[in-house]
């Protein structure tokens, strides 16, 4: 413990009294002898180092070795072998593509609908708390539960969604085996779970926009829509950047929804909705290649860094352009 206690327990008793007189009272007041500031950080940072930082760094190390699930203690040097194996596996590219398309299909509608809902929630409403809480119900439902429920709703023969489509004269959709259909179905789970949550985040952002701005816009004769475009959206920009970064990170590591949609680690018969997260799990715990799985994790990490960087860069460019206008 990096403590700054002036008296260590090992200190011999005799000289302990000797250096006491020069100790100035101001020092005593600034640093009570009981606990240094670092002591408050020790519990968190010990856990953080052991279960947060170490695994992340060690992932890069393991990705350079052959490591098998049956013998996780034995590492055999492979250099970049795991990475070349990855890049020559067509299923890796399928998973990368699927992660991207499912990411777009889930993030874009979710954030747009959340924005609209937040706008509506921002009116003066009766039963305000009821609406906010009810919209958060999906967020309280676990990934596993939501995926099982939607797997049922999207069932081919007896699922409620195909029944409803049938009622309006549309042929049943093969939500499991169609590439686009299955990706839409998996994205629907994500959209359902996160739209209300993001709406509340946007609402919180909207409430920090001063009412005078709207009043001024009103005086200038701006319509509701123009007020939304020219007052709400600019005021909300930091929040929008924040939610798109968080959603991008979530989309990059999507796992539970595609796993439980049909319960298989391959993400459908022809991997039509296997994401990178699921591919990692299949390599590690389906095929026992932990080294390969670590390489996938590291690729995902770099992907997130690039995507978040691009997001932040676009946001900064945008606001600089606004400032220059």
């Amino acid at each position: 413990m990096p403590s700054a206690e002036p008296l260590s327990p090992q200190a011999p008793p005799a000289p302990a009294t000797a250096p006491k007189p020069p100790e100035p009272p101001s020092r005593r007041r600034g640093r009570p002898a009981s606990l240094s500031p670092y002591a408050f950080l020790v519990p968190f940072f010990t856990l953080f180092a052991a279960f947060g930082i170490f695994p992340l760094l060690y992932t890069a190390y393991v990705s350079l070795y052959r490591a098998e699930l049956q013998t996780p203690g034995e590492l055999e040097w492979r250099g970049l072998g795991n990475y070349t194996a990855l890049f020559t596996d067509p299923f890796f590219w399928t998973a990368l593509r699927n992660t991207f398309t499912i990411g777009v299909l889930s993030t874009v509608p979710q954030l747009l609908m959340a924005l609209g809902l937040a706008h509506v929630l921002n009116y003066r409403l009766r039963a305000r708390t009821f609406f906010r809480t009810a919209l958060l119900l999906p967020y309280a439902t676990s990934v596993a539960a939501a995926s099982l429920i939607f797997a049922q709703l999207f069932g081919h023969d007896f699922g409620l969604i195909n029944r409803l489509l049938d009622l309006v004269g549309i042929h049943p959709v093969d939500w499991q085996n169609g590439t686009a259909a299955s990706q839409v179905a998996v994205s629907t789970i994500v959209v359902w779970r996160w739209t209300g949550y993001n709406a509340l985040i946007y609402l919180a952002g909207m409430q920090t926009i001063p009412a005078e701005l709207y009043e001024a816009a009103e005086v200038d004769g701006a319509s509701r829509w123009r007020q939304f475009l020219h007052v709400t959206l600019p005021g909300l920009r930091p929040t929008i950047v924040f939610t798109s970064i968080v959603s991008t990170i979530g989309a990059t590591q999507l796992f539970g929804e595609p796993l439980l949609f049909e319960g298989s680690v391959s993400g459908g018969i022809s991997h039509q909705y296997q994401t990178l997260g699921l591919y990692l799990y299949e390599q590690g715990w389906g095929f026992f290649h932990l080294g390969r799985a670590a390489a996938i994790a590291w690729v995902m990490f770099l992907l997130i860094v690039v995507l978040v960087g691009a997001n932040a860069w676009a946001a900064r460019r945008r606001s600089r352009k606004e400032a220059g206008r």
């Binding site: 002898a33 279960f51 919209l135 539960a145 949550y197 952002g205 539970g256 994790a297």
Partner: protein
């Protein structure tokens, strides 16, 4: 200006949109109850029932036989409870230090905490798994509890709260009276931080209860949490949809109950976290 005030009030269309959104949010959960209380044959009829039926208890008892849901509920309670208590404590300690104490490396350490919020813990699962194999923790609850205690968000959340709500003068006065840091923490910081600790506790409990990837890797059907049991249930060997839905209902009910009782606080916590984050 009166026109402006009434304009900001929700009209009929506003309520219509919101009611639709609420229906979409709630229907899948309602449907779970319907499906869990019917037989598979009833669900397969050309016109499926839209109201709950009489078979809920039968389906619940089948799912308790087929999947270890009872044990899973208990395990989830232990895991989520331990993670909640530990996280709130660690976060309040570290959050207080970052908010009110001066020490070397404060900025850098806080920066590291904030930066780590961007990194999904899922990316560290392979070494973490090797670690718990080494420690013989596979299938043991501490394998899920200890990594679950690391919450950069919690530290940041408590710091933001204490920066605003804990007056410096109060700490100074206690120091002049000769109170130690530990005493300041327990008799001044904790009472003031209590509302934020409660909100953080709620959010942590929900996140821990719903956590999926790591428990699926670290535990198995011998020692499952609810989410691990649901993964087994959806894994293909139970074909009875109504039984699967009964299990889903059972696993979701506790967190929905917490949500029903304390939804207002959870909404408040999420919105606070958003403005400050």
């Amino acid at each position: 200006m009166t026109a402006n005030v009434s304009a900001r009030r929700g009209g009929r269309l506003t309520y219509a949109v919101l009611i639709c959104a609420v229906l979409v949010s709630a229907f899948p959960l309602y449907w779970t109850l319907v499906a869990a209380s019917r037989s598979n044959a009833e669900l397969a009829r050309p016109l499926p029932a839209l109201l709950p039926g009489p078979r809920l208890l039968d389906n619940l008892s089948s799912v308790l036989d087929e999947a270890a849901i009872g044990k899973a509920l208990l395990n989830s309670l232990i895991v989520s409870g331990a993670i909640t208590v530990g996280t709130v404590l660690c976060s309040t300690l570290a959050g207080f230090a970052f908010a009110k104490l001066r020490f070397r490396g404060r900025g850098a350490l806080l920066g590291a905490v904030v930066a780590s919020m961007m990194i999904p813990p899922q990316l560290g699962v392979i070494p973490l798994f090797m670690l718990i194999v080494e420690l013989h923790w596979v299938n043991q609850l501490q394998a899920v509890i200890l990594p679950g205690l690391v919450s950069a968000f919690g530290v940041f959340f408590m710091r933001q709260f204490l920066v605003q709500s804990l007056p410096d003068e109060l700490i100074e006065a206690a120091r002049v009276d000769g109170a130690s840091h530990a005493r300041i923490f327990w008799s001044i910081v904790v009472p003031i931080a209590r509302p934020a600790m409660a909100v953080l506790g709620l959010l942590t409990f929900m996140t821990a209860w719903n956590d999926f990837f790591w428990p699926v890797v670290a535990l198995s059907s011998q020692e499952p949490t609810v989410q691990v049991a649901l993964r087994q249930l959806g894994g293909g060997y139970v074909h009875d949809q109504s039984v699967i839905m009964a299990g889903t209902l059972l696993g979701t009910l506790p967190v929905l109950l917490v949500f029903g009782l304390l939804g207002r606080q959870i909404v408040g916590g999420i919105m606070q976290g958003a403005v400050k984050g």
